[in-house]
């Protein structure tokens, strides 16, 4: 079957999802056993925003109510455990992509009834909302929903349930993006 322009280019077989879940659980378990921490992502994006602000305007960043919280002790805002971990996430994704031959020339994957431009605009808007939400939610799907729920944290279960329910409730209104 020929690949249509909007479709995944090298859609090779994925691993069994239950096996993937077991592997993900083991990675999270080892993370907790070694470092006592969660597997987060959005905290590292925050660190990069703080670091950028600190480069552009160091004095404004240090006196800012929000950035100032992360610039108090003088060490580099991106010298955190989480930032090293997220570097690994990108490397790990690439490794899997190479191994399963899914790495391809840059392209835009999208639903069958949406233009490339519309898909990219939606991606940015979705990212902006998600990014903003992570700060209110104290983490994203990885750090709050997955790691939080797995460690029996009430907040984790709260984020998991409401995040998925919200996406489900809103899905009807943006169905043209996907189906």
């Amino acid at each position: 079957m020929e690949t249509l322009p909007h479709q995944e280019k090298n859609k090779t077989k994925y691993i069994n999802p239950y096996f993937g879940g077991v592997l993900m659980g083991i990675v999270l378990l080892v993370t907790i056993f070694i470092s006592g921490r969660e597997l987060g992502i959005s905290g590292a994006v925050r660190d990069s925003v703080v670091a950028t602000a600190n480069v552009i305007s160091p004095t404004a960043a240090k006196t800012s109510v929000y950035y100032g919280k992360f610039l108090k002790d003088g060490h580099h805002p991106m010298d955190n455990w989480l930032d090293y971990e997220v570097l690994g996430v990108i490397l790990g994704g690439l490794l899997s992509g190479i191994l399963f031959k899914r790495v391809h020339k840059p392209f835009v994957e999208r639903g069958p009834n949406v233009s490339r431009t519309r898909r990219l605009v939606a991606a940015v808007i979705g990212g902006i909302l998600f990014g903003f939400g992570t700060r209110l939610g104290r983490g994203c799907t990885s750090g709050a929903a997955l790691s939080g729920s797995s460690t029996f944290a009430f907040g984790g279960v709260l984020v998991m349930v409401i995040l998925f329910a919200s996406a489900f409730a809103f899905a009807y209104f943006v169905r043209k993006l996907w189906i």
Binding site: Y66, G88, L136, T141, T151
Partner: protein
């Protein structure tokens, strides 16, 4: 006894090196399971692909049960691990916003990074959006700080809140997961018959 970094059994620098490898494991599983495709993720909410539910719930119950075993063997002190704090109003609001962001953008932060790694431009745009969103949050933070910090319950677990032991919670989540796997599989079977152009 774990967590070994907190108890000084490995150096702080080694902990950072290990962080890269743990992240690699996480990124590898995300990509290998198909989370590097926004269409696979969005499928959860239109009924044509429930890979997210399968991987996510399996990971949660494996970790829950694993933590209980490690604690039971005396290898891990659960009182030393990080427990996500709860701030009711802001976390509820944040989760609603994240859910809307996920269905519009097709990714969450971790999956967008794994997708950027294999060449997805849509994921790159989502990641740029994340950066902008957090920047906007930092800019409006002084206005919403009171809301951000309101309704603080502490670093509470399900057990703190209900008195029900973690073992029962793990059991309950396992039952819910098994039901969810079964229900979603039958929904998926029906919906996939109607969708012709999506390759599974």
């Amino acid at each position: 006894m774990g967590p070994i970094a907190i108890n000084g059994l490995i150096s702080a620098n080694l902990n950072l090196v290990i962080a890269v490898f743990l992240g690699m494991g996480f990124g590898f599983v995300l990509e290998a399971s198909g989370f590097s495709s926004a269409r696979n993720i969005a499928g959860t909410f239109y009924g044509y692909n429930f890979v997210v539910v399968r991987v996510f719930f399996t990971a949660v119950i494996v970790t829950m049960v694993g933590l209980l075993y490690l604690s039971y063997f005396g290898w891990l002190n659960l009182s030393q691990i990080f427990i996500l704090p709860t701030y009711l109003p802001s976390m509820i609001t944040g989760s609603i916003i994240m859910g809307v962001g996920m269905i519009i953008g097709g990714f969450c932060p971790g999956t967008s990074f794994a997708a950027v790694a294999i060449g997805k431009i849509d994921a790159l745009f989502f990641a740029i959006g994340l950066f902008i969103g957090i920047f906007l949050f930092a800019e409006v933070y002084p206005l919403i700080e009171k809301f951000y910090l309101s309704g603080y319950l502490g670093h509470v677990t399900l057990t703190d809140l209900t008195g029900i032991k973690p073992g029962w919670w793990a059991f309950g989540f396992t039952v819910i997961a098994l039901i969810a796997f079964w229900v979603t599989a039958s929904i998926e079977k029906k919906v996939r018959k109607k969708i012709k152009e999506y390759k599974f």
